[in-house]
């Protein structure tokens, strides 16, 4: 019954196929065949894949499956840090009337920064046609020409579109970290406006300076870097920039209504713990993924991240138990996050011993910042973004310069590092001076820019909701929803 139809269909396909093959022959004259790579070149390319090196003649423009797979996984892991890791970590720490505002801010920033990144951000950080130490270029605006072929300025084996999405996740979580300091008292629109300007003035230039191929402080990859500093996964770019900006913004914003008089305890420590676990898991993508390959450097970063985090979590809990009588969940969570923050710039550059030392410092110093420093000065850094990320990020950048181990990462003594002097600093010591310069630039940029942007937003659309809105909670007023139906 179907036979006539099937016959007809087969005939039609046959005709179409003949036509296509004829036109193909007619329209494309056979190109002059390029010289086929020799067997040696093909083997060399495969070895380069295993060693994460330059493939040479064969396999150029092709992503390597293993490296690409790890980077797509890492990209998803870093997104998981923000959604929902950071959102729940912060969301649990606010009062129940403001839990949704934190989630909305994290979601809003994710969407907003993605648009900025697609249009300009990626190109301004990782483009190259400006030949500038401060900004990338304009060639990748709107992700033009960002395809599955690798951008060999940054990775021989990872698709550039994957690389751009991976780096996008860093651009998302950085402003999301600021939310912690200004939680419960800033208008949603004001946050979006602030973040939009802040990305262009602080994040994009800073990320280029530290990670861009012509970046001012990119000691590992830029032979012409004037400051041969190192930052593996974002101690300066992510944690210092967000942390110091958070302090300035929370000072300009002022404390929450009732701060110091009313109880502002976390409404759900369980959510906070769940978020912390997600942050820790996601951070493997953040740190080990920053090798931009599934190679030995990534393996080292994976190991150091685990050690420093576990040591810091345990140490913070132990400090609380000894000096206060209780090892609290918030203490363990704070220690874990502080450990992750401090190991971030160091994870691909220090060995396991360095990681354990970093873990201890990561607990002690941010603990003092969150308890003593904050109490002394009385600023309302609501969820301790400054105490953990600014102090932790700064500490990490410095400790990276002291504990760096040339043996764990060949790039520390590679050709660019020899040219700009990094290799000498790693072998002879003294890298911490370059690290201090990078810290100074990051700190000044974050503080000055945040001051200007905050006053700009304040003068135009105002930073805070009315006192009545703040008292009732941001959830019902700003977002029209309640976290917990009563």
């Amino acid at each position: 019954m179907h036979t006539p139809q099937r016959l007809l269909r087969t005939a039609l396909f046959a005709c179409l196929a003949c036509y296509l093959s004829l036109t193909a022959v007619a329209q494309t004259p056979a190109p002059a065949a390029p010289a086929a790579p020799t067997t040696d070149e093909r083997i060399a390319a495969l070895e380069a894949y295993v060693n994460n090196g330059d493939p040479g003649k064969s396999l150029t423009g092709v992503p390597g499956p293993g490296h690409n797979a790890w980077m797509m996984t890492s990209t998803a892991l870093v997104l998981f840090m923000t959604l929902p890791g950071l959102a729940l970590f912060y969301g649990g720490l606010v009062r129940r009337k403001n839990v949704l505002s934190v989630l909305a801010q994290c979601l809003g920033i994710t969407g907003l920064v993605t648009i900025l990144w697609w249009a300009f951000g990626y190109s301004l950080v990782f483009g190259s046609n400006f030949n500038s130490p401060y900004f990338g270029g304009s060639e990748y605006f709107f992700l033009k020409d960002v395809t599955s072929a690798p951008n060999t300025n940054y990775a021989y084996w990872v698709s550039q579109n994957v690389f751009s999405m991976y780096q996008l996740m860093f651009a998302i979580i950085t402003p999301a970290l600021i939310v912690g300091a200004i939680a419960e008292r800033m208008k949603f629109t004001a946050i979006m406006a602030f973040v939009t300007v802040w990305m262009f003035v602080v994040y994009f230039p800073l990320a280029h300076m530290v990670w861009g191929s012509s970046g001012l402080m990119n000691g590992v990859w830029n032979g012409d870097a004037r400051i041969p500093a190192i930052d593996f996964a974002g101690g300066t770019v992510v944690h210092m920039s967000s942390g110091w900006s958070a302090l300035i913004l929370c000072l300009i914003l002022g404390p929450r209504v009732g701060f110091g008089k009313e109880k502002m305890a976390p409404h759900n420590m369980v959510l906070c713990m769940v978020g912390t676990g997600m942050l820790w898991v996601g951070w493997y993508g953040f740190n080990a993924g920053s090798a931009v390959a599934a190679d030995g450097v990534a393996a080292n970063a994976f190991t150091t991240t685990t050690l420093a985090t576990a040591v810091a979590a345990f140490t913070w809990g132990a400090i609380e138990k000894i000096f206060r009588g209780h090892a609290s969940i918030l203490g363990f969570c704070s220690g874990a996050v502080a450990g992750l923050v401090v190991i971030t710039p160091a994870c691909g550059f220090v060995n396991s011993t360095g990681a354990v030392i970093i873990g201890v410092f990561a607990a002690v110093v941010p603990y003092l910042a969150c308890t003593k420093l904050k109490a002394k000065f009385g600023y309302d850094d609501a969820l301790d973004t400054f105490g953990v990320h600014a102090i932790g990020g700064t500490l990490g950048a410095l400790l990276t310069g002291i504990l760096v181990a040339g043996s764990v990462n060949g790039n520390l003594t590679g050709a660019p590092a020899v040219k700009n002097g990094l290799a000498k600093l790693v072998t002879d010591g003294g890298l911490w001076v370059a690290q201090l310069k990078a810290i100074g630039i990051t700190l000044v940029l974050a503080v000055v820019a945040t001051t200007l942007i905050a006053y700009l937003v304040k003068a135009t659309i105002k930073l805070r909701p009315t006192e009545e809105v703040e008292r009732q909670g941001l959830d019902t007023n700003e977002h029209g929803e309640e976290g917990y139906a009563s």
Binding site: K263, A265, P266, S328, G331, T371, D384, G387
Partner: protein, 112 residues
């Protein structure tokens, strides 16, 4: 008839219930409440922030009993809820004018 209102430590509820069942009390109403007496509250510390929590969780038990059973019921509650530490709670006994069993319209002690 009397209404016995007992405020006890939450973890003592099972023991009190068992002790009352043993002396023939057949029903009770239980509510989770918060409050403080001489025990006062406790302190919670979240990183650098310290908060005093005044109201502690307690359980309130309400039972209606016939006059001749009041002494036994109060004794059973006091014995089973006691830890000897501050914060064990209190028992109030208040007179009851009337009781109605809704299903049968019975009144007074026969409705208990």
């Amino acid at each position: 008839m009397k209404l016995i209102i007992a405020i006890i430590k939450p973890f003592k509820l099972e023991e009190v219930k068992t002790a009352l069942a043993e002396i023939g009390v057949e029903g009770m109403t239980v509510t989770e409440v918060k409050g403080f007496g001489r025990q006062k509250g406790h302190t919670e510390i979240y990183r650098g922030s310290e908060y005093t929590v005044d109201f502690l969780p307690k359980v309130k038990i309400e039972i209606g009993v016939a006059d001749d059973a009041v002494a036994k019921a109060v004794a059973a509650i006091v014995k089973s809820a006691k830890t000897g530490k501050i914060g064990d709670g209190k028992v109030f006994v208040v007179p009851v004018e009337d009781v109605v069993r809704i299903r049968t319209d019975e009144r007074g002690e026969s409705a208990l």
